[in-house]
Symmetry: C2
Subunit: 292 residues, 2 copies
């Protein structure tokens, strides 16, 4: 297992972590600059942040600073209530692949979607099996496109508390079943993003990381699970402030040959997004060295 | 599958559902009376409510009204940080078995516990595998005692969002693995309480209900998953107000021969606990007939 205690060369910052600074929106160029200033070598930006700053501008910054992209957030949201919705998702996902390729990302992260309409508060139906089947079909179709663009797709199993509205793929086992069906030869074009927040509780986690193997382990995201957790979405903890044994999980990843970045992804309305982003990044660096 | 549309003979009320009426605590005797008035034949009371009213008093009421207890809430909370804590949990669980037997409950529901201290906001450690091993040992020991008292133990897999602080058994598969280990012959003395709120998202739910079979399916709890869910603990929905396809899950239960009560268990600080308990019970009856 790699020793993270002496530097932060394997730290990546998911840019949502400093999406806000002192409660105010922080533009992506300023986030990138703040990372570069601290010797952070990798980031994972969100599409809306890239769009707001202009992708040509961001691609140029990334290139000039020699930044790596441990991922690009995010494609997915495949299920829809009608054919037009499915088509719109298909088109949007192809654009996400193109953007990820333009930025040189290591993978496109897929948050696959749940029951159509649920995120807006009104699910169109209750058939989660149907949603899952649309997800499988959507990934299958996107995979052909992504292979041409040489952009690996990383399915992110989301915590079961998001099954209704954000992602109906909720365990590693389920994600890997999809991978095995759509990419049986483990080509590297389809795999998983392992976010400790979503999967730490899973009694089969070690077993399924082993099953995934190196070619399916495309990304590793870290933060922490707080007790109590005040909000289902935006109360993630800084590594070390919660109950997740992150080094143990990283050890399982690395035992399979994973050698990529540890990407910090924290959504935190009540705490970290209220602080100055410099303090947050400095804390990420310190905790990366001591708690990851 | 039984037709629930014409009466509510298979409705049970978990008494937490009307723990409060218009925001005020409602004593258990008044809850029982309100159920009896409406022809509700079964309840599942909580230990603290029973204790507040006196168990002799409650046992007498239950007997005189011919009420059935679809379960007794609850035993469990096995993990502890030291030997004294483990012993205290052991003693308390034996008392819970005794109380359940005195009241004539069909089973004692087990919410098994998580990381010691996490519920109080400060976990003693992060070793969820250790907690799970203490749970298995605790259930194994309690099972011998419960068999003597002829009280079936129903492990309730809790939603993974409670893995840290309330229960580190989080899927049907995991619960049934414990059952198979401790009671390989499916004697009926150990099984599961299937609460749709906790398990609806599980892609292996149908498969695991089939695996459980009749002798392991000891209880069936219903409510609904709201989108959005405002609170991790106390924002459960009334059946029909959320995204869970309850009849489908009940169908899977009944296909295995389950013929017991559908027990309504709703924790709802922001909505149902604010209303008069009569209105809540009437709504439970109506929704039991139309949405369960």
């Amino acid at each position: 297992m790699r020793d993270f205690s002496r530097d932060h060369r394997w730290l990546s910052i998911n840019t949502a972590t400093v999406r806000k600074s002192r409660g105010e929106d922080l533009p992506l160029p300023r986030i990138l600059e703040a990372c570069v200033e601290r010797g952070i070598r990798a980031v994972s930006p969100w599409r809306d942040q890239v769009q707001a700053a202009g992708i040509t501008n961001i691609a140029k910054m990334v290139r000039e600073h020699g930044l790596q992209l441990s991922g690009y957030c995010r494609g997915g949201m495949f299920p829809a209530a009608d054919a037009a919705g499915l088509q719109a998702a298909r088109d949007d996902n192809r654009r996400a692949v193109d953007e990820a390729a333009q930025l040189g990302a290591e993978c496109l992260v897929l948050v696959v979607g749940g029951l159509p309409g649920a995120l807006q508060g009104k699910a169109a139906h209750k058939d989660i099996a149907l949603a899952r089947s649309q997800v499988r079909d959507g990934i299958g179709e996107l995979l052909e496109y992504a292979r041409t663009a040489k952009m690996p797709l990383a399915i992110e199993p989301l915590h079961p508390m998001y099954a209704a509205d954000r992602a109906c793929i909720n365990t590693m086992e389920q994600a890997l079943d999809v991978c095995d069906e759509l990419d049986p030869y483990k080509s590297g074009s389809l795999g998983v993003a392992v976010d400790v927040y979503h999967v730490w509780w899973d009694p089969k986690l070690e077993q399924q990381i082993r099953r995934a193997g190196r070619n399916r382990l495309l990304a590793f995201h870290v933060c922490d699970w707080l007790t109590p957790t005040a909000d289902l979405l935006n109360d993630r903890g800084m590594m070390g402030d919660g109950v997740i044994d992150i080094p143990r999980i990283r050890g399982w990843m690395e035992a399979q040959g994973f050698a990529g970045y540890s990407e910090v992804e924290i959504f935190s309305t009540g705490n970290w997004w209220k602080r100055p982003h410099g303090e947050v990044l400095d804390t990420c660096i310190a905790r990366h060295r001591s708690m990851v």
